[in-house]
């Protein structure tokens, strides 16, 4: 039996976490849940305790990359075979976790849940879709693989990738960069269709002013990773 860890990064998600945890329980699968509370300013920590889910409360705010890497370090230390990232804001439907895990079991190193393959469910805003198309093409150009939803944080990884991410994970806006990084290190990546929801509470970590910084930073990260092909292990 494969040990599966769900890594749920959460920053001020006290309102959406109870619904998410309930949905995970409703799947009837025996997943271990780990919430990474990234130094939230609301009562996320109390909510985790009330829900009786295992949680790590970081003493300082590390941002999404540092929070998720904590989950991978935990998964590595506790000898998990599969780790699945699920956003704490309720955008990702836990019913698809099984599909992601099935693809890991058939030998993929990372499986990404894409909202654009079937085109069903919440499709993100127009401006974000332009950004996503740009990253699709950039990744295609640099690595030759077609990823329809490179910014999706709904992903499952196998043991080899857990060990890889334990030693290096990008600090901010990690999703597109990790695709290029894994590809350049000869990992197998697969996408499967999922339906996503519009976030119920809270705001996206990327607002209009930050989006320009986001585009430049992620582009630089992708290009540097692709050209210099840094070997981590």
């Amino acid at each position: 039996m494969d040990k599966v860890l769900l890594i749920i990064p959460a920053y001020n998600e006290s309102k959406s976490l109870p619904k998410l945890i309930k949905k995970i329980k409703d799947t009837g699968e025996d997943y271990d849940v780990l919430v990474i509370n990234d130094c939230s300013t609301d009562n996320t920590e109390v909510v985790c305790r009330e829900l009786q889910v295992n949680s790590i409360s970081l003493p300082t705010n590390l941002g999404i990359g540092g929070a998720i890497q904590t989950g991978y370090k935990f998964a590595f230390t506790n000898d998990y075979n599969i780790a699945v990232q699920v956003d704490g804001d309720g955008q990702h439907n836990p019913e698809y976790i099984k599909d992601l895990i099935d693809e890991i079991k058939s030998g993929n190193n990372m499986v990404i849940g894409s909202r654009f393959i079937s085109g069903e469910g919440f499709q993100s805003s127009f401006m974000r879709r332009i950004g996503i198309t740009y990253f699709n093409n950039l990744i295609k150009l640099l690595t030759g693989i077609r990823i329809t939803d490179p910014t999706s944080g709904f992903r499952a990884v196998d043991k080899k990738t857990i060990e890889f991410f334990k030693s290096y994970y990008p600090t901010d806006y990690p999703e597109p960069e990790t695709i290029v990084l894994l590809k350049k290190n000869k990992f197998n990546i697969k996408e499967i269709p999922v339906r996503m929801n519009e976030r119920l509470e809270g705001k996206s970590s990327i607002d209009s002013i930050k989006s320009i910084y986001y585009m430049i930073k992620v582009s630089a990260a992708i290009i540097i990773t692709a050209i210099f092909a840094h070997k981590e292990v």
Partner: protein, 122 residues
Amino acid sequence: MDNILRLFIIVGTLIFAYIIINMVNKRKLQLRYTLTWIIASIMFIIMAIFPGIIDFVADVLHIIEPVNALFLIMIFLLMLIIFSLTKAVSSYSNKVKDLTQELGMLKNFIEEYKKVGKNIND
């Protein structure tokens, strides 16, 4: 180079170097990060005492006014110092991240351990 400017650089740099070395001595600054400043100070003093160096640099780089060569050298040294700081910040940011993650996992482990202990005692 003008004598007043040379005197100004020498006196100013000596005062600056004295303050820095004093702070290192009082353990307020780490020698590791002040070494770049001390080396820069020594270079300024050497250039002020032997202005021929600046004239030579200006000549080689086709800079008309030697004082502009002085500015160029100063900017170059400052950039080196700032770069060393960028490097230090990156290194600390990584260390703080690793420590934060480690501390978070340790806190989690202790909480879980306490729960298990409680169950046994009951």
